[in-house]
């Protein structure tokens, strides 16, 4: 049976600490970039945005929204525009895969992505001398001139599949496949699982009240769900994100 991996992020629990961002970068051998790198020229496959209800004073409210690739299931925008077939949807997992070897760096996919979840490698990856010994051996480094994004820690999926195969199983144990951001979250705000399995806790949470998806009206069927008890946060879901923190209207 094909899986459909996705996540449900409880925004009421997110404290905006940024542990998911750092853990993601470490796991995927994302380099630190020159000091002139910004939130658009940097490489942050997982980026936490701070948004507010736009009210000043004691009624002001703020939440943090972690945004990574949504792994759109329908008419995946980045797949549609890639001239190199460097972006593929893995039918067995639902993961939208970026294949850096095929990417020629045209950045059409970045333009097409409604979530701004793709990043261009503006600089050669470099680490201070000796630090390459601390790179994750499961993930290859990418060079300058290609686009990068979240691939739901594909190396961890492969490790889980190898373990399942060694045990003679066809299906992986979900306990063996936990993306780095999910593992790092100190408040367990991110729930990861197989959305195609109705009994999976993530699947159950995705269909619970108060859940929503960003820009759901586009019909791309993103596999990242969000949860919030606050109406103004849910109303933000249909707004297009900008590079800057969003100041929404009070709802």
């Amino acid at each position: 049976m094909s899986a459909r991996y996705g996540m449900v992020i409880d925004l009421d629990r997110c404290t905006g600490c940024g542990a998911c961002m750092v853990a993601c970068a470490v796991e995927n051998n994302v380099p630190a970039l020159p000091a002139r790198a910004t939130d658009r020229t940097g490489l942050t496959p997982m980026l936490v945005h701070k948004v507010s209800n736009g009210v000043e004073g004691s009624d002001r409210r703020e939440v943090f929204i972690p945004v990574a690739c949504m792994h759109c299931a329908n008419e995946t925008p980045c797949v549609s525009v890639c001239p190199q077939q460097a972006v593929e949807v893995d039918k067995s997992t639902g993961i939208v895969m970026q294949i850096p070897q095929r990417c020629l760096g045209c950045r059409y996919c970045m333009t097409a992505c409604p979530y701004h979840a793709r990043y261009f490698n503006w600089w050669d990856p470099s680490w201070p001398p000796g630090m390459e010994k601390s790179l994750n051996p499961g993930v290859a480094t990418r060079m300058r001139g290609v686009v990068e994004k979240c691939n739901l820690c594909h190396a961890r999926l492969h490790t889980a599949m190898e373990k399942a195969a060694a045990a003679g199983k066809k299906e992986i144990d979900m306990a063996d496949y936990v993306p780095a951001c999910v593992e790092a979250c100190p408040t367990n705000a991110i729930l990861f699982g197989n959305l195609a399995n109705p009994g999976d806790p993530a699947s159950v949470a995705a269909h619970a009240p108060d859940t929503f998806r960003l820009l759901a009206r586009l019909g791309t069927e993103p596999k990242t769900y969000y949860k919030s008890s606050q109406a103004w946060v849910r109303a933000l879901a249909e707004r297009s994100p900008s590079g800057q923190p969003t100041e929404a209207q009070h709802v």
Binding site: T15, M21, V22, V26, A35, F64, D124, K133, P186, T187
Partner: protein, 556 residues
């Protein structure tokens, strides 16, 4: 067969056209693409067997348990280990990338004397000379460790003073220590049993105390609930991360928190909301309201909310007695859900003596924050793993980096129960490094070693037969055959947790309402970070996103 020029051209054209119907050009293109991903200057990850080891983070006093993934003998990934009874698998963002610090460009690899390379022998000779010539001070940034015992022994033997630098969380317990006469190292916050927590600017959801301890409680009992079992009231001028996640955020004017605390005390006493009488702050409510930016009604409502669900625990970001006195008034001292006394504290230290201003020399341990400014005039021997710049020391002495030193982890300052762990050294330093304790042992060979102190502490825990060791499974101390076995379990990444004893006597009394003494040094995981530099990937938090304001430290 005669081959004409025409045949040759036709054959060449046919071959050229035909080759595109074979996999050859696509394979060549693919290989070229892969080759271009493997330029010799693109760093390649190490190859080798992958193992996972348990350890504890040693970069602040919290001692968060972690699993370290090792490949070819080097750490390649860190994740939190849920076995720790207090940290519960949480790590601060910097902890995930901490192992990269060992290769940080600012890493110290040689002894430096006023900017020039020197040797350990020269440093030792200079220190011995300074010791013989005049008063000496030894400053420790994380007292209670086995290494601290070595530093303290040296100070006692050589007529020197031993001074402990306390962080803001520990300082916030100072007033209780003063009022009760109990050492600050024996006091802690019983967050787990509180039902209302009133925080005056303490960054409870941003790493305050022990990252994971309060956030875990908040997740279980407060987050996304309109009427939660645990109420967090955050009193702070700005909407911080903690205020954003609080049940109620009370904005007040800057630096008027103590004034608000006094007016809350006045309402509590005047309207008999607290059982025992106490000194009434001499301040009209209307004046306090005007200065804090609140209304008298809002202050009264806040006071009523504070006592609606008890126990109520007040936490200050610093050591302002005018704020923490509210706990005395609320009866939250020496009771569950308040300020409590720890039952056993194997690493308790006597109070530190203040350093003499006419010192001949001063030795700073690597745990002392880089921002610490030693008294002028003294020759400064600074142990550090990284050079934070600023030339604040005459001697810079390189110490082991992250996971390069086996060290014990005493109870974190805010914990309500005693904890003890030992972090193993998983790496070997690539340069000749020494800890301050090793350096002093070379100067005076009669000092106890760190290992001897750790053995003694493990024996003490074993003899007391209290609590349990939390490792892959939980084992009561009584189930261990010997102290050596207990130590082995701790050295493998286990953590000892004492039994919870709520009824230890602790009494504080106030004769008059304390005066406001603000120092304002709120502490979160970034400001509690001892090294003068940040992990390389911390740039993701500060430069490559707009998530946080950059700290005043080097980020690359």
């Amino acid at each position: 067969m005669k081959v004409s020029r025409r045949d040759l051209l036709l054959g060449t054209a046919g071959l050229t056209a035909g080759i595109f119907f074979t996999p050859v050009p696509w394979k060549v293109l693919d290989d070229v693409s892969i080759w271009t991903q493997n330029w010799p200057w693109i760093p390649q990850p190490p190859r080798g067997p992958v193992t996972t080891k348990l350890a504890s983070c040693t970069l602040c006093s919290s001692g968060c348990a972690m699993r370290v993934r090792m490949a070819a003998g080097f750490p390649v990934g860190i994740s939190g280990a849920a076995l720790h009874p207090l940290t519960k698998g949480a790590l601060c963002p910097l902890g995930f990338a901490a192992y990269q610090l060992n290769w940080h460009p600012a890493r110290l690899s040689e002894v430096r004397h006023r900017g020039h390379a020197a040797s350990w022998e020269e440093a030792r000779a200079a220190f011995e000379k300074a010791t013989s010539e005049g008063p000496l001070a030894i400053v420790d940034g994380r007292s209670g460790r086995a290494a601290s015992a070595v530093l303290q022994s040296f100070a006692a033997k050589h007529n020197s003073s031993y001074e402990a630098v306390r962080n803001a969380e520990e300082k916030s317990l100072f007033p209780y220590a003063k009022w009760s006469g109990i050492p600050v190292s024996s006091l802690g916050y019983d967050l787990e049993n509180a039902r209302t927590i009133v925080s005056f600017g303490a960054p409870l959801l941003d790493g305050w105390g022990i990252p994971g301890r309060f956030t875990h409680l908040w997740c279980e009992r407060a987050a996304s609930q309109s009427d939660p079992p645990l109420r967090l009231i955050q009193i702070e001028p700005t909407l911080s991360r903690t205020a954003a996640g609080a049940w109620r955020w009370v904005p007040v004017c800057q630096s008027t928190e103590a004034l608000l605390a006094a007016s809350l005390a006045k309402v509590l006493l005047d309207e008999h909301l607290v059982p025992a009488p106490g000194p009434v702050p001499p301040l009209p409510l209307t004046d306090a309201a005007r200065q804090t930016g609140m209304t008298p009604t809002a202050i009264r409502e806040l006071a009523y909310t504070m006592v609606e669900r008890r126990p109520t625990l007040v936490i200050d970001a610093d050591e302002n007695p005018a704020i923490v006195a509210l706990n005395v008034l609320l009866g939250s001292v020496g009771t569950p859900g308040g300020i409590v006394k720890k039952a056993v504290h194997p690493s308790s230290m006597p109070p530190a003596r203040a350093a003499d201003t006419t010192l001949r020399a001063i030795l700073l341990d690597s745990t002392v924050p880089w921002e610490f400014v030693p008294p002028s005039g003294a020759e400064v021997f600074r142990f550090a793993s990284w050079d934070g710049g600023g030339n604040r020391a005459d001697w810079l002495l390189p110490t082991p980096g992250f996971l390069e030193e086996s060290t014990d982890l005493p109870t974190p300052p805010t914990s309500a129960v005693a904890v003890y762990g030992i972090s193993p050294n998983l790496l070997t330093a690539s340069a000749p490094v020494k800890t301050a304790a090793e350096f002093l042992q070379q100067v005076d060979s009669t000092l106890p070693t760190v290992d001897q102190t750790i053995h003694a502490r493990c024996k003490e825990i074993f003899r007391a037969r209290r609590g349990s060791v939390h490792s892959e499974k939980q084992s009561p101390v009584a189930s261990f055959e010997s102290a050596a076995k207990l130590e082995e379990a701790l050295r493998s990444g286990g953590v000892w947790l004492d039994e919870w004893t709520p009824a230890f006597p602790l009494k504080c009394s106030l004769k008059e309402w304390p005066t406001d003494n603000p120092t304002h040094s709120p502490l979160n995981w970034a400001s509690a970070w001892v090294p003068p530099v940040m992990p390389t990937l911390a740039a993701k938090l500060y430069r490559e996103s707009s998530l946080r304001e950059p700290p005043q430290r080097s980020q690359s």
